[in-house]
């Protein structure tokens, strides 16, 4: 999951994947502006077939947060 998210961020921001860590965020990557943040939301929704709510988008601060969030959404809820 973390690897997939990292690969998406790497492609969108045009930064080699090995320069991206779990702590990477708009705070420490200059190319990660609001336009790219929107592209990232769209890419995640497309790739994992999910919808992110405004609250969830707020929670997406770092690459690690994003991976954690997506993982949580993909887990099958207990019946």
């Amino acid at each position: 999951m973390y690897e997939q998210v990292r690969s998406i961020v790497s492609d969108l921001l045009r930064i080699p994947a090995d320069q991206i860590s779990a702590a990477s965020s708009p705070e420490n990557i200059e190319a990660w502006d609001s336009v790219q943040h929107l592209n990232l939301v769209l890419a995640l929704e497309e790739k994992f077939s999910l919808q992110l709510s405004p609250e969830e988008i707020d929670e997406m601060k770092t690459v690690g947060d994003i991976a954690h969030l997506v993982e949580g959404k993909l887990q099958v809820p207990p019946s």
Partner: protein
């Protein structure tokens, strides 16, 4: 969706090709990646890699400015990726939100300083006519009329102002209807309603666009309706990021823009080459015979009649059809000529290759016979193996990827953006007939011993005339498309031609030719500029279909006589060599001009009109 191992392989493959300097292979890898994974993430990858390949691939540069009232940023990489795959290097400037009135009205705005080739004005109904969108149910009839008037006038004013400041192409989004009319089912009843009001604005927009050259309406409402009004709009993203379009439809917006950008940049397909078995009819003629192939108004033959109808529609836009089929010629021709279900007939095809040979080689021959480059061909074949073979051998050919189900074939032909056209001349509408006459001429020529005897037999008549509103589209089109007999290869839009023709001292002339076999139509353009003592030929070109018939001499003679009668002492002309115009390199020399200046990029030729004149060929009657 899980990650696709083949997809990842294509990315590293593309990077390997780039490092190895195999640009064409890298480009093909990237195109394949796009076919498999078109979307935001792949777009970012494609754009970054194609930017590295700039300068090493024959891409057409094109500058696009987008004025907008909503978030369109995510559509731009999709558009650029689609464009790159089709050979266009798009530089896109996205204007600030809602800056479009100032950007258009202010002659010093960043819009004009960007020097775009084309501008898209994408504003939504909710932004331009919020009263009609939100409050229609409250509005009295006068309020509705004044809203319609207000928005129609705005469009008219912006288009007029834009045209005053720029000769770039302008694409204006028409207004879209809401998914649900505010008055419910009442809206569709007599007296009109919200939909009628919005369509009234669109009608006025079409009219304003028609009053200027190079202004086009993008039927945004049609685009939304085609995909489904309910699915197109994303309320969540609209509220979150002012992006009204659902993420999965952004690519449909990009593709709609491309349907205009492709004809604008000239990357169109001029010929559709089609297979026969299981493409134009169901089954294999050599095995199923005339009674066994499926071609009728009923299922499943109806699907093939539809795709034939779609191909026939293309010929009305000036696109030629050709056949490339692995078959016995007798079997295939019998079906083409005699099967009652055929919509197309042999006369609709300008070139035919029915044999057991390699399709790529046949396509090369077809291109050569029709005097077009292989990059002007599109290829339709149900067999993916044949498509891959052609793709590998001729990457510049536009391949139409047919799905499994024949019911979808016609829409693939209709959706292919390489067949879009922004103007239709009478030449376009008759092109197939013109090519048939050309074949007759070539056959006749073989019966003559001397060229002069053939020229006399042809009985050519030519008319040289200044460009007029009726011929403007064709004149501009010729400057954009003619590569071989083109001395300076200057490309002009209709607006630019109109501007030049209006300048004092300038002439834009066209030559129209017909002979005993029929009308060639408008086949040549000459643009000249008078100076104090000289007349300089800025543009001199001739369509390849009349090369070698001395029409060029007749046109040059006309220019020379005209310049002399206006008191000019010298006739000057530049020759700017390109990869394709070698046939014209000796033109001025052959007519008695001398080189007066030469450098690496061009040579300037001059004819002293006080001492020499050019005679028009005796076998062409010029008026």
């Amino acid at each position: 969706m899980t990650s696709d191992p083949k997809g990842i392989d294509l990315r590293s493959e593309a990077d390997r090709m780039i490092s190895a300097g195999s640009e064409a292979l890298a480009s093909e890898c990237l195109a394949e990646l796009w076919r498999k994974e078109a979307g935001g993430v792949a777009a970012a990858f494609l754009v970054s890699r194609f930017e590295q390949l700039r300068g090493k691939l024959p891409l057409i540069p094109y500058r696009l400015a987008v004025l907008r009232s909503f978030t369109a940023e995510p559509a731009i990489p999709l558009l650029r990726a689609e464009a790159f795959v089709r050979g266009i290097d798009l530089t896109v400037q996205l204007a600030d939100f809602n800056a479009y009135p100032q950007d258009i009205l202010d002659p010093d705005s960043s819009l004009y300083r960007f020097a775009p080739d084309a501008v898209i004005l994408a504003v939504q109904t909710i932004d331009l006519a919020p009263d009609l969108w939100h409050q229609y149910a409250d509005l009295a009839p006068q309020a509705v009329s004044s809203a319609i008037q207000r928005v129609s006038d705005s469009f008219r004013q912006w288009i007029r102002s834009f045209r005053e400041h720029s000769s770039a192409a302008l694409l204006v989004h028409s207004l879209e209807l809401p998914a649900r009319p505010l008055t419910g089912i009442l809206d569709a009843q007599q007296g009109g309603g919200q939909a009628t009001a919005i369509y009234e604005i669109n009608r006025a927009l079409r009219q304003s666009a028609a009053e200027h050259r190079g202004v086009y309406v993008l039927d945004y409402d049609g685009l939304v309706a085609r995909h489904g009004r309910l699915r197109w709009h994303d309320q969540r993203k609209w509220l979150l990021a002012r992006m009204p379009i659902a993420a999965n439809h952004l690519i449909d917006l990009a593709r709609e823009w491309l349907r205009f950008l492709i004809p604008l940049s000239g990357k169109t397909a001029k010929v559709l080459v089609t297979d026969l078995d299981n493409t134009m009819w169901g089954g294999v003629i050599g095995e199923d015979g005339m009674t066994g192939i499926k071609l009728s108004p009923e299922y499943p033959g109806a699907a093939f009649q539809s795709v034939q109808r779609a191909m026939l529609d293309l010929t009305r836009r000036g696109i030629l059809l050709a056949i490339c089929s692995k078959n016995n010629p007798e079997d295939a021709m019998e079906a083409l000529q005699n099967h009652p279900g055929m919509i197309l007939r042999p006369k609709d095809f300008s070139a035919v290759r029915i044999n057991w040979g390699d399709k790529a080689q046949n396509l090369r021959e077809i291109a050569s016979e029709l005097n077009v480059g292989t990059d002007a061909l599109a290829f339709l074949d149900d067999n993916p193996v044949e498509r891959e073979q052609v793709r590998g051998a001729l990457p510049e050919v536009t391949i139409l990827d047919l799905p499994e189900n024949p019911l979808a074939y016609a829409s693939v032909v209709q959706d292919c953006p390489a067949f879009e056209r922004l103007a239709l001349s009478s030449e376009d509408q008759q092109r197939t007939t013109l090519y048939a006459a050309q074949r007759d001429r070539s056959q006749a020529e073989q019966g003559f011993q001397s060229k002069e005897d053939f020229f006399r037999y042809l009985d050519q008549e030519a008319e040289v005339a200044p460009v007029s509103p009726a011929t403007l589209a064709r004149v501009a089109q010729l400057t954009q498309k003619t590569n071989q007999f083109n001395l300076t290869t200057r490309r002009y839009t209709e607006q630019q031609i109109a501007d030049i023709a209006a300048r004092p001292g300038w002439q834009v002339l066209s030559i129209t030719v017909h002979d005993r076999f029929g009308d060639h139509g408008l086949v040549g353009v000459a643009i000249t500029r008078d100076d104090d003592k000289t007349c300089e030929i800025e543009t001199f070109l001739l369509s390849c279909r009349v090369i070698g018939r001395t029409v060029e001499t007749a046109l040059l003679a006309h220019l020379a006589h005209g310049a002399a009668s206006r008191g000019r002492k010298q006739l000057l002309g530049w020759f700017i060599p390109t990869k394709k115009n070698a046939p014209a390199s000796e033109f001025y020399r052959q007519h008695g001009f001398e080189v007066s200046r030469q450098n690496d990029d061009a040579s300037l030729w001059s004819l002293d009109l006080t001492r020499r004149m050019i005679d028009s060929p005796e076998w062409i009657k010029v008026s």
